[in-house]
């Protein structure tokens, strides 16, 4: 769905058009659900959060300012709710790596092994990442956001997004390395 179509739907939702809301849910619900599910790693909570996000869309569509793409706006809501839910649950967090220096690429990635990593190994590897890293991975690789849009979604500087994107990939690769070796 194009940005113009998204905005038109939001305008209709602001006028309490349920059909537009359902179309919006159909378009963005799967991505939002996938995003929050990978962040909180709890199916029940992910369903609640997806619903919460969409109810927020229903309530605040009239206040959408148009400063960002609609998808960016929606994922920003989703990210905020997911991170807030994680904090409320007091799940363990890992210090961010924003201050770290980008390491060398000389280790040499193993594209084939990454590609062939099976689902269980990949799930296990993803679980070792911080929510911040999982968020950036998903927004980059699945949702196709730009670095600037991700910065807006997760509320951090663009430089931090780049760093997180780099480290998320590195750590995922490291987590998969034992599986590759075996």
């Amino acid at each position: 769905m194009s940005e113009a179509e998204d905005r038109h739907l939001l305008e209709r939702i602001a006028r309490r058009d349920r059909l537009a809301f359902e179309a919006f849910f159909t378009t963005h619900g799967p991505g939002v659900h996938r995003f929050v599910r990978d962040l909180v790693r709890d199916e029940g909570l992910a369903e609640e959060l997806t619903s919460d996000v969409m109810v927020d869309v229903w309530r605040s569509a009239g206040r959408y300012g148009g400063r960002s793409r609609v998808r960016t706006w929606v994922f920003g809501i989703a990210h905020h709710k997911a991170i807030d839910a994680l904090r409320r649950r007091r799940l363990p967090t890992v210090p961010l790596d924003d201050a770290l220096e980008i390491p060398s690429l000389l280790d040499g990635p193993d594209a084939t092994a990454m590609h062939n990593a099976d689902r269980a190994q990949l799930d296990a590897a993803l679980r070792t990442l911080t929510p911040e890293h999982r968020a950036v991975l998903q927004l980059t690789y699945l949702e196709g956001f730009s670095q600037h849009e991700i910065a807006e979604v997760v509320g951090c500087p663009v430089a931090t997004v780049k760093t997180r994107a780099f480290y998320a990939k590195q750590r995922l690769r490291d987590a998969l390395a034992p599986a590759r070796a075996s």
Binding site: F21, F25, T26, P30, M54, W58, I102, Y141, F166
Partner: protein, 230 residues
């Protein structure tokens, strides 16, 4: 040892096609001369493929989320859908007014005269069914379209209960001729069809488009036409 390749942190965004022209040119210049970065880019592409394959393999969004969310909308600030459609207020809403007009027009004038002539010819105590033709509307993405033949004994007695059922379960969208179109969330489809069927006879059900969407909906098109006595 740590050393930073100039474009290392841009590669994921080069791969997903969101860099600016200047950034893209910078990356491509680096890729042309740096085998490490080129290899890294291939790894990033593979990672994207892997993550997308994983996402595709995950269970779809449960349809109950949409249903639950729609139910929550009714209790959120703003106009309440249930209130709009319940009691005596539904025809005061423009869309409902249009549908009411359809009913009046559809069964008014010549149509009413024709129906009254038909009614006069009915045999007391006999059961009559009225055919609900298939819609010719095209199916849209993420939706499946179903045409239902709804048999009813009397348009006057049947259409208002049918409207009430649709009002509780669906969003009435438009009409085409005597066709009333309503979108029904998939989660409510069976219950809605069951309720509608209880009004008369569902003569056929046809999926125009398979239910492949995560929150696929049914477009229920209804028109009442007298059929042969049976």
């Amino acid at each position: 040892m740590t050393s930073r390749h100039p474009v290392a942190d841009l590669l994921p965004f080069y791969a997903n096609g969101t860099l600016t022209d200047a950034e893209r040119a910078q990356v491509e210049a680096e890729l042309a001369s740096c085998a490490t970065c080129a290899t890294e880019l291939r790894a990033i592409a593979a990672l994207g493929t892997t993550l997308r394959a994983r996402a595709d393999a995950l269970p779809p969004v449960p349809a109950r989320i949409l249903d639950a969310t729609l139910a929550r909308l009714d209790s959120t600030p703003g106009r309440r859908f249930a209130e709009r459609l319940s009691g005596n207020a539904w025809w005061t809403i423009p869309a409902r007014y249009a549908i009411a007009a359809v009913l009046v027009l559809g069964f008014g004038g010549a149509a009413i005269a024709a129906y009254e002539a038909h009614e006069a010819a009915l045999t007391p105590g006999a059961t009559y069914v009225y055919r609900v033709p298939d819609t010719d509307r095209p199916a849209t993405d993420n939706r499946m379209e179903e045409a239902v033949d709804l048999g009813v004994r009397s348009p006057e007695h049947a259409i208002m209960p049918a409207m009430a059922i649709l009002a509780r379960n669906a969003t009435l969208v438009e009409r085409r001729g005597l066709v009333l179109t309503a979108d029904i969330p998939t989660a409510r489809l069976n219950a809605t069809i069951t309720q509608l069927a209880a009004l008369g006879t569902i003569r056929s059900r046809r999926f125009v488009r398979p239910a492949t969407g995560l929150v696929a909906r049914i477009r229920l098109s209804v028109v009442l036409e007298p059929m042969l006595n049976r």
